[in-house]
Assembly symmetry: C2
Homo-oligomer: 645 residues x 2
């Protein structure tokens, strides 16, 4: 079997915004998580994730500890390390991973099986509870990690391990009579198998992924069949038949996002992958319908998804309460994956706009600026008292946490940020689509010609981007620049000359086809203004409110800047709003300020209700980027601000 | 022991508003509940409440069925019947009650004990779990019922039963060394024992009530002691140490309402009773602090209380979310009890205003106009989809239910409405305070002189009240009329002549002291206008919103009148609002109408967010009394309306 080390990112991030985050991942998150995986963090519940593998390898004595999906923490950590190594080699870290990989090898069964929970706790019950027990999910993360590590280092050992495991899984599941007709309760392996196919070109993996997707939701329902086999009688806890797992009906019949949001977007990602790899038109249509449903009816302005804690799930169209949202970090990360794959199906800025919104808002909000604490839930309105005292808001933590019992989000954000360079481009033969603007250098192969590219920008704080394009030799090809949906106007120049770009626009991209020569200079100036954004009036709780946005950055008001009781602030429609870069604030951000009115609390002391008799005072408000909230004193936060019209 | 049949209401309600409700209680609620208690309602889970007593009496075979507090359903039903008999004798009904009373007598133990759950299920475990198992609560309801039935009919049998039971309880609980130092997990018996004292003049009952109140919340904590006795190790499910039962600290140290709202107000009612009966100043102070906390910081505009489903409880100051409220019918009923007792401590309209708000809004909203269906939870904002699809809003039923597994609210509203006449007056020697305005006739004894009183009014639809005062012989005494807090002005006339009432005002009451003669005529004209009410700005979710109120009636918008998506309606501050009586609508109500603006949904089809670009259209809105909502097609409802300023 021929394996190419393809898909490696040659992007070197030089961007002032992202470089800091990459350093935080490298310097804090990866080392901290390694300590956590090895149970060396004081005053924290042990992870036991590495120890579980040692246990299976017979190198220590003891009991399995952790979630059924504990293995995936190790996998996601390796994947983050792999992406980090792409950016910057690190021998010491590579050595650690090599040792973990060797341990995984020793823990792997003869037949390829590798799951510490089942190997230790229930060796006889493998593949008997796909619905709940995350076996295929963990396998998927191992595969993703192995692919990333192989791409970053060229080392095959981990890839061999997961290929053997995937081969074993393919021997267990499939259409043949003796095989199980199942599919995972938590989707993940589907997208991972496509990645494995990408690096190995082994179509078995693509077919297995397709099998899992195609089989899903068929009747009689596999989850019922295996439940009967287990002699389990109690009803499933979530509403509706397996909508929680997006297994309530076949995927091609699904038009509305339902159930657990992370599972949903991981599955949609794989569906989009398969649609493009297999030219499956019906799958593409399903992806498009689901995309429109999520982004036009079920997505917060931060690109957070999942509006209820029950099931960590989607609820229903336009139901986007700010103070009850779930908006899990992992779900927004999954939305990035999905958007990225939709761009493979069709170059359309509607996908890249959401990808960008998620990257600059709902994903990185999950991590403290110093990388030491994390949000699982990224709400749009926080009142600490409510989080403390109301059971229905207890999932909304007013401060980030060090680590979680279910530690999915911290390593997920680490692998996303470390792989940021993968999301800048889509290449289709001799077309290069530029989705994201961030300082970086890279080499891209177009028809055998190496094209050096250097992008410079202060994005997201201003909209000026310069791109140096240097092919080794002159070559005709297309560079397509995304003009973000938020931009009020754009000026495109090539070598100093303005390009009349409107006729070159298609689906939000300016297609510049020309013969490119060394040191050609592309300049893009996006008009970045402060926008008051309104929500569709069917989003009940946002009527009469605006959110502030500038470029891709969504803003919020914090108590530390604006005092307590933020909902008593009313922003007049005509109030001037100013943007200003503050270098020393929150690692350098553009703040938005302006004059608003605040309802006077004085005179209300002993009254709860009274006939209208407003007293307001003028106040200066200060808004900061949503992603950076809760990096100073804890307190209230709102994204949607009452408006005075 | 001398027992007087005192406390009987001689009030005959002739009021167009309340008479209909009394008839509904008589004609539908009481007969329906009797069928329910006897398990004769098809397609409904059986109550078994009567059957449980038969079981104990040894008259049938079988098993106990129902809640641990199932007995209280029978008690509350008898109490409702008793009050109904006061209004209108009914031999058939009285006969049924007599038979039930005889059954209770046969079920009662030799020593006075009477609780079917323990008698059948756990005869050896009596008084071992006061915290959870409602033994004293059920006893309290039996006592209340017996007192009411005695007052209504003069029949002593039931009273004798509960006296014997109360004597038994007094032999079990108390300060003496051999007695248990406990008190109920669900307060109720405390206020019942005061009622029993009132009719029997037996101070043991007053002292036992006082003992329960005084003992509450002391350390070491009785609930811990009995828990240890039970060898129970699991922690109590609610936040904080027994705040759920208002037993987290001694009652005199409690300044903020916490925990289960019904338990709280039942306890505060007893505290106010004891404060006035025993002249306990420290208890009075605690009542006042708690009153101010509840009514100034934790009460919905409808007099609903309890803002979270978890624990059916208070949450914290100013936390009054409209779409998550619990606002149990029983809690507002308890607030009526408490307000009534506070008026015994001090004549102040702040108590009567809340009493009135609860009566016309948050209590009767719990019952369908025809008396056939009931709300347990009385929310201030309803979106049926959210109730159906969001687990955190599932307690908010978009339509009233026939009956409940925990059937506390339907009989509670029945007994409240049936006893409405008891809340009109407070008499203090030769002062008669008129709290409520409703058509009725009565005879009141002032210093041995019978005073005939006839009140006529169209209240709550207009503010004109006439009162005919006819003493048997001329007599000097004071009639004090409450001028409600909502009134913008009042004109008081006696025998056609305007009284300059301002100098006669004290704490919201006009004190008219004169020699009254036959057919003296008092007229009171309260200015009843439509008010836009604002909430204290610390009530986060009501900033920028108004509620409409006219007289004591709080209004709401329903989907049936105003279409879907009610939060997209904005009511301009200067829009004229009109009140109009509609005889054929909802049994005759005053509606409020006016012109508002509605955010256009057209043009938003495929968008969730966009820069501000409002399009509004003018719409006519129609508001109906909150209590009458959900008596037509089900749909959305809001009390707090967005305002355009």
């Amino acid at each position: 079997m021929k394996i190419e080390q393809k898909g490696k990112s040659n992007v070197k991030i030089t961007d002032s915004f992202w470089k800091k985050r990459l350093e935080v991942i490298r310097d804090h998150v990866i080392p901290y998580q390694w300590e956590a995986l090895n149970d060396r963090i004081p005053d924290t519940a042990p992870s036991h994730a590495i120890e579980n593998f040692r246990l299976v390898a017979g190198e220590v004595e003891g009991e399995f500890f952790g979630m059924v999906f504990q293995d995936s923490d190790v996998a996601k950590w390796i994947e983050a390390v792999a992406f980090s190594l792409e950016n910057e080699p690190n021998e010491e870290l590579e050595q650690i991973v090599d040792e973990v990989v060797a341990l995984l090898g020793r823990a792997q069964d003869e037949n390829g099986y590798l799951n510490t929970y089942y190997q230790v706790k229930e060796p006889k019950n493998r593949w008997t509870n796909l619905r709940d027990n995350h076996e295929l999910y963990c396998a998927g993360h191992l595969i993703e990690a192995a692919v990333a590590y192989y791409q970053a280092t060229g080392k095959r050992e981990f890839l061999d391990i997961v290929c053997q495991y995937a081969d074993h899984i393919a021997s267990v599941f499939g259409p043949e009579e003796h095989k199980l007709k199942g599919y995972p309760g938590h989707q993940e392996i589907e997208l991972a198998l496509v990645k494995l196919y990408d690096v190995t070109a082994n179509e078995n993996y693509l077919n297995l992924s397709k099998y899992f997707i195609d089989e899903r939701g068929k009747q009689p329902h596999y989850f019922d069949l295996e439940k009967n086999e287990r002699n389990e009688t109690k009803p499933f806890w979530f509403n509706d038949d397996y909508a929680y797992h997006q297994a309530h009906k076949p995927v091609r019949e699904q038009k509305e996002a339902v159930g657990h949001a992370v599972r949903a977007v991981y599955m949609y990602t794989a569906m989009a992958d398969l649609a493009s790899k297999t030219n499956d038109e019906s799958l593409k249509k399903a992806c498009e319908a689901l995309w429109d449903n999520v982004t036009q009816k079920q997505m917060y302005i931060t690109a957070g998804i999942g509006s209820m804690v029950f099931g960590e799930a989607f609820s229903f169209d336009y139901d986007l309460p700010n103070d009850l949202s779930y908006t899990e970090t992992c779900a927004s990360i999954g939305l990035v994956f999905w958007a990225n794959r939709m761009l493979n199906l069709e170059i359309n800025r509607k996908y890249a706009d959401v990808l960008e919104t998620a990257l600059y808002n709902g994903t990185i909000s999950g991590m403290e600026l110093d990388g030491k604490k994390f949000f699982y839930v990224n709400p749009l309105e926080v009142q600490p008292d409510a989080s403390e005292k109301r059971n229905d808001k207890r999932h909304i933590k007013p401060v980030r946490q060090k680590w979680f019992g279910c530690a999915c989000c911290p390593p997920n954000i680490a692998r996303l940020v470390a792989s940021i360079g993968h999301y800048i481009y889509t290449q289709k033969e001799n077309e290069l689509f530029v989705h994201l603007y961030m300082g970086h250098e890279t080499q891209i192969d177009i028809a055998g010609n190496q094209i050096g590219i250097v992008q410079k920008t202060n994005y997201p704080w201003d909209g000026n981007i310069s791109i140096n394009v240097s092919p080794k030799s002159d070559q005709q090809f297309t560079i397509s620049l995304r003009i973000p949906g938020w931009s009020k106007g754009a000026v495109v120049k090539v070598n100093g000359e303005i390009v009349d770009h409107e006729p070159l626009m298609k689906n939000g991209y300016v297609y510049i086809n020309r013969i490119w020569s060394e040191n050609d200079q592309v300049e893009l100036a996006l008009q970045m203004v402060i926008e008051r954004i309104q929500a569709n009036p069917l989003v009940r709780n946002n009527n009469g409110k605006v959110a502030l946005q500038r470029g891709p950055i969504v803003y919020c008001l914090e108590e530390v800047d604006n005092g307590k009781n933020l909902p008593s602030i009313f922003l007049p429609r005509d109030a001037e709003l100013k943007a200003k870069f503050e270098e020393d604030l929150l690692e350098g951000i553009v703040i938005i300020s302006g004059q608003a009115e605040r309802i006077e609390e004085a005179g209300w002391e002993d009254k709860l209700y009274r006939p209208v008799d407003d007293h307001t005072r003028k106040v200066e408000i200060k808004a900061v980027p949503y992603y950076a909230w809760c990096n100073r004193q804890p307190g209230e936060m709102i994204v949607w601000v009452n408006e005075k019209r």
